[in-house]
Symmetry: C2
Subunit: 109 residues, 2 copies
């Protein structure tokens, strides 16, 4: 006795994303799934800023901000540029704005 429709399962199976794509996707969303990192991206969409400014804006320690910026940097979402004693961060990809707007549309319903 079998209650599972094997045809459906076998029809859908080949349409599933391969492992690599799957993990790239979930890693991307994982990165966006933290309020601190969203705030950093949101802020950098307005203006490039240095670590101290971002820390002041978010009312956090420079260390905490730096750790999160590192995560965003290794995902190539932001880029860093050293000028004098400061390190200025900027969005490296305006794709981020689109994704944020898409999510906003979903959340604001």
């Amino acid at each position: 006795m079998e209650h599972v429709d094997l045809d459906t399962v076998n029809k859908v199976k080949p349409k599933m994303p391969d492992t690599t794509l799957l993990y790239e996707l979930s890693d991307f969303f994982k990165l966006m799934g933290d309020s601190t990192r969203i705030q950093l991206l949101w802020a950098l969409e307005e203006n490039e800023m240095c670590v101290g400014e971002l820390a002041l804006l978010l009312n956090m320690t420079k260390s905490a901000v730096s750790h999160q910026l590192k995560a965003l940097r290794s995902a190539k979402l932001v880029k860093a540029q050293k000028r004098g004693k400061n390190v200025f961060y900027a969005l490296s990809d305006h794709h981020v704005r689109t994704v944020l707007e898409m999510a906003l549309e979903h959340v604001a319903e």
Copy 2:
């Protein structure tokens, strides 16, 4: 001696999202940031399916699948319908497809 541009910070501050929106956004991304849940959404985009079919498709226990479906259900991303002994799940919102496609575009570069 001050190396932080207060004007920049004060200019950006009012543009930041309020706390509620911020957490709604990060909660949404958190939900998408798991490969199991992405697979479930991806699969349900092709066909509504019951828990057993989804478990077979993803090669997971029904319990694990059920737990994740519950998370997706409380976020209103999927809806459940009981028919006989089975519970069939379907996407409740085709907005999800758009967000996934947006993220795909970002990842595939």
